[in-house]
């Protein structure tokens, strides 16, 4: 009992005396945990919601049959309905239709429509049954009726009984909102109508998008899947709900993992701060601990004492962190509707699900980091030579054990090695490990480097300057580099992350900007809603557009989605005129391309996006099979192009080749170049003259660029948040370590006062120290950050999103943030010195007996 009381007494004494630092440490832990936890919560919420929303569309079926090219012929439906072992069958036609209304965002007026047979769907996906108005029961079969989910009604601003207009090709059709889908997933924007009516009105006659099956209870699902898959042949794939989940998770996996990694890096940065606070606190009390040892405290007891401190701090901080993280996640979900402003999870409304298991994990990480921060210095203190430790001034040597240059070099070297390794499960895990190792190595290397740099500075300064403040400052840094490095670790970690993110985001943005230049060369783009599986413009309309006056060039595009691998999201097929002599004029080709003259005669050229190379292993010169219509065709890869728009892959081919192979002469969009004499207004007026102008979606490439960049900025909003948090953590670190040092150096300052240094000189010296140290940290942080950004740009991005980019440096922003860091660190140092210096000189010196 006595032990416990001593324990508490020591803890209380320490915490009462160092209240502010304790608070700072707790805040640091809390911030790290909060950041990681909230990002994790939001990601899981969004994914769960997305997958639940998708699941609610598939209902309770056991097995689903899809066509590899999207829609498939309905004749397979009766076959499946009578297939042995099938209990219930539910044919579904699912497609997105274009609502004819003026919306700002061009991708925003798409509504997912499910055509179902209510009688078949009732047992498999009862949630999709519309609720007709009273006395209008036949609306479930009506060809002019549509049922909207609550979210869709709200989004479209419609009520039961209103009319809803859709563009189908060049036609506009009107459907009556016959009722709601009361059991639709919250926030999900979908519409349901009769399958026969949908096939007819939206021009999908004879087509289905999937058939859901419920099997007899004695049927083995896996065996059934294999058997049916073999019988249906290449055109189809048979999957279970579980397979669907893999596909959905795959869609956003890279995005989620990267955000989680960033969150961990934030936690990691926070942990440096915790470590430095803990380490400094232990070092400062070195003599106190040694005294305890002399008085009979055992090593174990002392170790326990220090670890308990760390444990209590870590527990409080981590608990706060969980609470703050949860609060932030809820707030963010409500404000940003969970998709981080990105396009990854459209049309859903996630809600946070608190999982005790995951909360415990983040709690343990926060606590573990704190305890670790206390352990390393504690072990040194415990095993120290008691006689010498009792003496004054040994603090700096304490850190020798903790930080050694050799291990720093090992970290840096293995970090560089890791960058050379391929991704793990298609994720840049090793890239992130390399980043962590670079950070650790860089920080561990700092004392040695600081000694080197400041020793050099000392020689230089002493030769040319007589300024006593600068001399003292430099001399201190040169001779006590370990303490400096602790103060700097937080600054270094956060600044290098800021640098890395800034370089990465700017490089990405400039690359996207240039890419947009390349992919949007025309002045105007005209799109039209598809009519079923056909593009909306038929030959006749194409001629009408071709004969418009005022345009110097017109390119037609046929764009569609197709599935190459059922486990992966769909890829995009773009057929368009491509410059046969110099394909690079049309496509943003990487260096990996060959001229068409190098292809064998008769081969059909195909240009693939970088994602196709990574995901499907396509290589230039290789022969590949691509399904179009109901057939597979052989192509030869002629080049690789950069694509920031479709991370799941895209391929481009000559429109003429496409039309020869498929006899599909319809197209969905047109690129128009203006004559030199034609103004934009005249061009728009000319387009308005077309008889079908009311269903056209006309976009100026300028606007498209702007909105693309706006989407880009929105997607990176989270990284800006992370940068700000990193800055705050870094500054907190400076404040914490400086104020800790000030207290430890009270005697030093009193000594200086005794030999005639004025109070204001000491303050200036402190500010200068802060300035010098931060400058050093900033330079080092810049080098580290550059290294990390190279990893982000050339390893993490290509490995997770399958695109490459060029390096661009955001000099202005970097200079600005360095300036802010310098000024605020100097200010912090100056402020934390103010109190210390004003204390009684005599008392301070007397302390050193």
């Amino acid at each position: 009992m006595k032990m416990v009381r001593l324990f508490c007494w020591l803890l209380q004494g320490e915490w009462r005396a160092r209240f502010v630092q304790i608070i700072v440490a707790v805040i640091a832990i809390a911030m790290g945990v909060a950041l990681g936890f909230s990002i994790h919560l939001i990601n899981t919420a969004a994914l769960n919601e997305f997958s639940a929303a998708n699941k609610s569309l598939s209902g309770q079926s056991d097995v689903q049959v899809y066509g590899k090219q999207g829609f498939f012929d309905e004749t397979v439906y009766p076959k499946l309905a009578q297939y042995e072992g099938v209990k219930l069958v539910n044919p579904v036609l699912e497609f997105t239709a274009t609502v004819s209304a003026e919306f700002e965002n061009r991708d925003d007026h798409k509504l997912k429509i499910l055509g179902i047979d209510v009688l078949r769907a009732a047992d498999i996906s009862p949630d999709l049954l519309g609720v007709p108005g009273e006395g209008r029961s036949m609306d479930s079969f009506a060809d002019d009726a549509i049922f909207l989910s609550p979210a869709a009604m709200e989004w479209l601003g419609l009520e039961q009984g209103d009319m809803l207009y859709f563009n189908v090709g060049l036609e506009t059709i009107a459907l009556r909102v016959a009722g709601g889908l009361t059991r639709a997933h919250a926030g999900q924007r979908i519409a349901v109508m009769d399958i026969g009516a949908a096939q007819w009105r939206f021009q999908y006659l004879g087509l289905l998008s999937r058939i859901e099956l419920k099997l007899e209870s004695n049927i083995h699902h896996e065996a059934f899947k294999v058997k049916l898959g073999n019988e249906l042949g290449e055109q189809f794939y048979v999957s279970e709900i579980a397979d669907q989940e893999v596909r959905i998770a795959n869609m956003s996996r890279a995005y989620r993992v990267n955000l989680n990694m960033l969150a961990l890096v934030a936690l990691f940065t926070g942990s440096f701060l915790v470590f430095s606070t803990q380490a400094l606190s232990v070092i400062r009390r070195r003599r106190q601990f040694t005294l305890l040892r002399v008085l009979g405290y055992t090593r174990r007891q002392l170790l326990l004492q220090i670890l308990t401190e760390g444990f209590v701090l870590g527990t409080i901080g981590a608990l706060f962190g969980l609470a703050i993280g949860y609060g932030c996640a809820v707030l963010a979900i409500n404000l940003l509707s969970g998709d981080w402003g990105s396009y990854i999870f459209p049309g859903i409304q996630p809600s946070i699900f608190f999982s005790l298991q995951n909360a415990a994990l983040f709690f343990m990480i926060g606590l573990g980091v704190t305890v670790l921060g206390a352990t390393l210095p504690a072990r040194e203190v415990v095993s120290a030579n008691q006689a010498s430790a009792l003496k004054s001034g040994g603090e700096d040597s304490t850190m020798n054990r903790v930080q050694r240059s050799r291990s720093a070099w090992v970290c840096l070297f293995s970090g560089v090695l890791l960058t050379q390794l391929p991704p793990v499960y298609e994720l840049p895990v090793l890239g992130y490990m390399a980043i962590a190792l670079l950070l650790i190595g860089g920080i561990a290397l700092m004392p040695g480097l600081a000694k080197l740099v400041f020793s050099f500075l000392q020689k230089y300064v002493s030769r040319y300057s007589k300024n006593v403040i600068i001399l003292m400052t430099v001399a201190r840094q040169a001779n006590a580099p370990n303490q400096a490095s602790i103060a700097l670790s937080g600054v270094l970690a956060s600044f290098s992350l800021i640098v890395a993110m800034a370089i990465m985001v700017l490089s990405f943005r400039v690359s996207v900007d240039q890419w947009l230049d390349h992919v949007l060369p025309a002045d105007l783009y005209v799109r039209v809603a598809d009519s079923g599986v056909q593009g909306g413009f038929q030959k006749e309309e194409q001629n009408a557009i071709n004969s418009l006056p005022g345009f110097s060039r017109t390119d037609f595009f046929r764009v569609q989605q197709l599935t190459l691998n059922p486990d992966r999201p769909e890829i995009t097929l773009i057929a368009r005129p491509i410059d046969a002599v110099e394909p690079g004029n049309t496509l943003p080709l990487t260096d990996d391309a060959r001229g068409l003259d190098q292809l064998p005669k008769g081969a059909i050229p195909l240009w693939v996006s970088e994602a196709m190379v990574d995901l499907y292993g396509y290589a230039v010169g290789e022969k590949v099979m691509i399904p179009m219509g109901n057939m597979w065709y052989e192509f030869q890869v002629a080049g690789v192009w950069r694509d920031y728009g479709r991370q799941f892959g895209a391929v481009q081919m000559q429109l003429s080749d496409y039309q020869t192979l498929t006899s599909d002469f319809s197209i969905n969009s047109v690129a128009l170049w203006l004559d030199t004499e034609t103004t934009m207004t005249e061009a728009l007026v000319a387009l308005q003259q077309l008889p079908f102008s009311n269903v056209l979606e006309i976009t100026q490439s300028q606007h498209m660029r702007e909105s693309s960049l706006a989407i880009f900025d929105r997607s990176f909003a989270i990284t800006y948040v992370l940068e700000v948090v990193a800055v705050i953590i870094g500054l907190l670190g400076v404040a914490a370590s400086f104020s800790a040092q000030m207290l430890a150096r009270v005697k030093e300052f009193s000594m200086l006062r005794h030999i005639g240094v004025t109070q204001s000189q000491i303050k200036r010296m402190l500010a200068a120290e802060g300035c010098f140290l931060t400058a050093f940290g900033v330079v080092l942080g810049f080098v580290l950050g550059l290294g990390i950004s190279l990893i982000l740009i050339f390893i993490v991005n290509p490995q997770s999103f399958h695109w490459t980019m060029q390096l661009y440096m955001p000099w202005n922003w970097l200079l600005l943030i360095s300036g802010v860091m310098l000024v605020s660190a100097s200010l912090t140092a100056w402020l934390s010195g103010r109190n210390v210096v004003s204390d009684g000189v005599i008392r301070a010196v007397r302390e050193d007996w």
Partner: protein
């Protein structure tokens, strides 16, 4: 007579609405114009054509009720109904999925040892040869359920419900009965409220039943109704009582009354045929349905006159239910509740035959 349809999967409101609530079917008809064929007096039924479906009419059903006996002398009641309904879909819709016709099948088994009606149902739109009601002869199919008339006049039916199954052959032993005037059967004071209607009484039944995990060989007798119409009921109608009787002496009787909102008789009909084939009609005034004992359903609180006296002219029939709880309660899904059960027939306190009684419109809490 008129089978009431309900459906577990939430779609039979449709049929209830079409059939039960004439005001709605009338208004829908008004919306759609007179697209459906009308029932009129001058028509002569032609067979085998009229065994088949009549897609020009709004609704149609083949409706079999009967009594069965297993090898170990256990008695069961059964009901099998196939129902066709036109949706009034847009005739220009070329889609194979266009809901031209809907087929509904409904089957029930009355086993006193279970004490409750066991039932199953199924519905689908026609198309892809998965569900159809063919013209020319009776041939209705709904996935693996069917009701077919062979060239020799025998009917074959198969039901494969969740809780039970039946595979039965029904063999005519007598000539059919054209109900009403040569098959034109009025349903109300207004002559337009009518259907074409014939019955095949005293069908000999043989086959198997899957019940409680066992497959049982069964024999028995049944009654078939085939009826089609576009407009059936008066808007004042509230429900009806209907009975079919296969009498032991080879005679048969079908009677029904349409009740008004006040519970009074709005219309009634009965036709008796003896074994020799002599037919006797009764005027609406000569027919009386007199409740003898009521049973209150513990499930719905509805009160049904499960024991009845039925007067046709000077003859009085007494109906005793096989067991009381032959109520169909599907309020959970459709809100439809009615009583449809096997009844024993007595005449002058002597057992006279076996039949089926249908009581609709007694459940008060329909607004659920």
């Amino acid at each position: 007579m008129i089978p009431l349809f309900f459906n577990q999967n939430g779609v039979s409101w449709l049929f209830l609405l079409i059939i039960l609530w004439p005001s709605i079917s009338v208004s829908q008809e008004a919306v759609q114009g007179n697209r459906f064929a009308k029932v009129s007096t001058g028509y002569t039924l032609v067979f085998p054509r009229d065994y088949g479906a009549h897609p020009d009419f709004r609704i149609e059903w083949w409706y079999v009720t009967g009594w069965l006996e297993t090898d170990d002398k256990k008695t069961l009641g059964f009901q099998v109904t196939f129902f066709r309904s036109s949706t009034g879909h847009h005739p220009e819709n070329p889609s194979q999925f266009a809901p031209k016709q809907l087929i509904i099948a409904h089957a029930a088994l009355s086993d006193p040892s279970v004490g409750r009606l066991i039932y199953g149902e199924k519905s689908a739109r026609t198309g892809f040869d998965l569900a159809y009601a063919k013209e020319g002869d009776t041939n209705v199919k709904l996935d693996d359920w069917y009701f077919v008339r062979d060239a020799d006049g025998h009917y074959q039916t198969k039901i494969n419900a969740e809780k039970f199954g039946m595979q039965l052959s029904l063999i005519p032993t007598q000539k059919m009965i054209l109900q009403g005037e040569h098959g034109f059967s009025r349903k109300g004071p207004n002559v337009e409220q009518a259907s074409y209607y014939y019955s095949e009484p005293h069908l000999k039944v043989a086959g198997t039943i899957k019940h409680q995990g066992k497959t049982l060989a069964v024999n028995g007798h049944a009654w078939l109704d085939h009826e089609w119409s576009s407009e059936l009921l008066d808007s004042r109608a509230d429900g009806w009582d209907w009975v079919s009787m296969n009498l032991f002496d080879g005679s048969s009787l079908m009677a029904f009354q349409i009740r008004g909102k006040d519970g009074a008789k709005l219309w009634a009909y009965a036709k008796f045929r003896n074994a020799a084939g002599e037919v006797r009609f009764f005027d609406p005034e000569q027919i009386e349905f007199i409740p003898e004992r009521v049973w209150q359903s513990p499930h719905t609180n509805a009160v049904y006159p499960v024991e009845m006296r039925i007067r046709t002219g000077e003859i009085e029939w007494r109906l005793i239910p096989f067991f009381d709880d032959q109520e169909l309660d599907s309020r959970r899904t459709t809100g439809a509740v009615y009583w449809e059960g096997a009844v024993r027939i007595f005449k002058e306190h002597q057992p006279a035959g076996q039949g089926y009684l249908e009581l609709t419109g007694y459940e008060s809490a329909l607004d659920l």
